[in-house]
Amino acid sequence: MQHFPALVVILPLCGAALSLALTKIHIHLGRNVIFLSLAASFCMSIMQLRNVVLNGPMEYRFGGYALPYSIEFRIDAVGGVVVSMVALMGLITAFYCISGEVRTDKIKVGGAYSVVALFVAGMLGTASSADAFNMYVFLEITALAAYCLIALGGNRGMIAAFRYLLVGTIAATFYLMGVGILYAVTGTLNLQDMSVIIHQGGKDEAVLVALCLLIAGLGVKSALFPFHGWQPSAHTHEERGSAALIAGVMVKIPVFMLFRYIYFVFGMDYKYMKQVLIILGVFVGIGMMYGSIRAMGQTNMKKLLAYSSITQTSYFMLGIVIGAPVALAGSLLHFIGDAFIKGGLFYCAGAIKYKFGTININNFGMIYKKMPVTATLIVSGALSMIGIPPTVGFFSKWYIAIGAIQTGKYIFLVLLIISSLLNAVYFFKLIEKVFMENDKEMEDIRPVKKGELPWSMLIPMTICIAVIFLLGFFNVPLINIVLPLFEGVGL
């Protein structure tokens, strides 16, 4: 049982490593091994989460040495929830990729799945590792796999991937410099140990420079407002199968790392933390407005979702900036819910492009007749993005709003409401296009015998719909798991 934190990350890694060798034997053997490893890592992450909830955070030291001398995985309540969410999204996206499979040569088949498995392993590791340099290497694995997945998305994807390669490497080098300064000043790389030494005090300037470098590096990785240049072009041109994983999950993991740095390493009582949070608040405020305004004028569904994900990143940062435990819990709930909402909407965009070859909103006429499952997912995703009660979007914004009121930061409350209304504008436009638009009689590129889409696309979509509503109904138990952790940390 105590080996689970390591096995959750190692299994997809081994699956990815072996998939190409096994594909030489039989074209689908590598793929099935990867499905097996992803499914096993998902079940282990669920059992690990149950174990964490029952008897406290789990620690796993690699190499069996004492704590500060070896790399350590630390899964607490928040980390457990995030790890199991990433594992589930990875499993679903691997299924979704079956439809996009090219059966020509063996490298393409085995390679595609091994890149997805590496991508999921990288994100699982980043979420569960508690060692500063270890997170950097996991970030690099995630980034390299992301460059490949974006580059596979056709000609324009190459340009987007190259631009993201340059920007991503600058961000990773900033993060490395930040870790270097922290190591120079504290002497350890373990986050737990580092926070103990920082709280002994006397190192405020160096920690301030390190914090700015970390925020710059992780802000670029997570497309926070001033650094989001690479994101819209990357999300519109990425590979159809794994678009959900990149837009849904990869953009959120750096925010989770920033949350862990700000609250567990530096702590709220750090001298310059107030000014830093004010600057972050300004970024978040502008980000919410900018993303929604830019998304209104889009006709390409993927571009619309890309700009709306800038606002979503600002919502998570909003929870961090407000600082009240309830707001933190709300931003985590939004973190989990949005992975499925954004992922689900990208699944629909991919499905429509797979079936009709177009993702221009104007010719979405009568989709609900031809593709009922996709239409329900578009509607439920849009409702949840705006924040209509039964779905998870409402409750997360509700908790963030309560947090804003508790700490008296009303400016954020106003911003939250305005940006929700802006969201409503372009998502209702999307819904209206799906139902009211007259039929464009688009011919069906890939007719499927039974039903609208191959099963490998329908299962991820139904799971996304289920999770959006389940999280909506059962968010109170999730909040109760996570809240005690934030009590000691928040304001």
């Binding site: 340099f133 690099e140 340009i159 390669l165 490497t169 600058i170 080098t173 490395l176 190591y183």
Partner: protein
């Protein structure tokens, strides 16, 4: 001599390393050719490695391989930074490899590696 050396130890080397880092980023932003951007990226990663290694130095210390007589920890350079930087070097090779593969495909699809021509042809595609 010691006056300059003290200045170098406190601020000089760090200033030069961060200057190299900002030069690398400057090279990435201003150079129009995608190949030169990749070289600028490599230069930036080398500057991060130099920064880590300069942290691990000790005055009058030998290389981190244990000798018979010497056991106290001030006699050896810091092995942790060296181990970390092996990872950073290999990461920079991996990123360069992927960047060059992208460059080859971009040259084939768009016919050129200059930024203006690519943007001009991008809308046509």
């Amino acid at each position: 001599m010691t006056g300059i050396e003290q200045f170098l130890a406190d601020k000089g080397i760090y200033f030069l390393t961060f200057f190299l880092l900002s030069l690398g980023i400057y090279g990435i932003i201003t150079c129009k050719n995608y190949m030169k951007k990749l070289i600028g990226m490599n230069i930036m990663q080398v500057s991060a490695i130099i920064f880590f290694l300069s942290l691990g130095q000790k005055k009058g210390a030998t290389i981190p391989v244990l000798l018979e007589g010497l056991t106290n920890s001030d006699a050896y350079n810091n092995p942790l930074t060296h181990a970390l930087m092996l990872t950073a070097i290999v990461v920079s090779l991996g990123t360069t490899g992927v960047g060059l593969a992208l460059l080859t495909r971009i040259k084939e699809k768009f016919g050129s590696v200059e930024e203006e021509e690519i943007i001009r042809r991008q809308d046509k595609l």
